[in-house]
């Protein structure tokens, strides 16, 4: 009789799988928000310029449509989070939790909510 004893740590492979699931989920979310992300990013730039006196036509038209001043619109836009950066922060937080997970059950729980 010959005996072979395995020495396997399943956690690295399971962490890789969990990370892949989470990345897929965030990519799907980002793809669904592509227009909004791009529009928000452009408007943040225009809002910064508007507050320094460089008012674009887009800012002027939107302020008129909303019935507010360009300065108020620009300030309002800049109070909102950068959606892409906020999403990346969420992703990094989940990846950190994946790195710190000690059991497959913890990884499964993370993937259930974020994967």
């Amino acid at each position: 009789m010959t005996v072979f004893t395995f020495q396997i740590d399943p956690m690295p492979a399971l962490r890789d799988a969990a990370k892949a699931r989470v990345d897929r989920s965030f990519n799907t979310e980002a793809a669904a928000m592509a227009h909004q992300d791009a529009a928000y990013a452009a408007k943040r730039e225009l809002a910064v310029r508007a507050l320094t006196g460089d008012v674009s036509e887009l800012m002027a038209v939107e302020a008129d449509l909303r019935g507010v001043s360009v300065a108020d619109l620009a300030s309002d836009i800049l109070t909102k989070p950068d959606t892409v950066a906020a999403r990346e922060m969420r992703r990094q937080a989940v990846l950190a939790a994946i790195r710190n997970a000690a059991t497959p059950a913890e990884l499964e729980q993370l993937a259930k909510f974020h994967g």
Partner: protein, 143 residues
């Protein structure tokens, strides 16, 4: 009516066709395509997981069962507890997966496998050796 089991050089069935009116032309067509096949007038469609073609005899044959026995399948995670399989053929290819991820795939060349699991989860252990049916056992490690 006849069953045509098209197989590779090892006898592994790649395709099984039930032909209601077999003809010499159909068989010639298979030969022209370079296919090897066995014909059985009685067999129904069958699973290649359970059947193969004995190439020497040219007959459909049930795949034999590996003499592996899982003697310990519920263990405590971590520490010195181990799942144990005995009767493993030395040439058997062992694949261990958990959660769909492959953790190990190789031929250890041993007749007894000891499988400790460091964290609570279930390992699926598959042992493959042609033409035997693939043996599968689950070993569960609890906290």
């Amino acid at each position: 009516m006849a069953l045509y089991a098209i197989h590779d050089e090892s006898g592994k069935i790649k395709q099984a066709n039930k032909i209601f009116a077999p003809t010499a032309a159909y068989e010639q067509q298979l030969r022209d395509l370079g296919q090897s096949f066995a014909v059985d007038p009685t067999a129904m469609l069958l699973s290649p997981d359970d059947w193969y073609v004995d190439v020497a005899g040219g007959a459909l044959t049930e795949r034999p069962t590996l003499p592996v026995v899982a003697v310990r399948t519920k263990i405590k995670a971590g520490g010195g507890d181990r799942g144990v399989l005995i009767g493993v053929p030395k040439a058997g290819k062992v694949t261990i997966t958990t959660g769909g991820m492959v953790l190990f795939q190789d031929t250890p060349g041993a007749t007894e496998l000891e499988i400790p699991i460091p964290v609570p989860c279930v390992y699926r252990v598959a042992i493959a050796l042609w033409p035997y049916r693939t043996y599968v056992a689950e070993i569960e490690a609890f906290a």
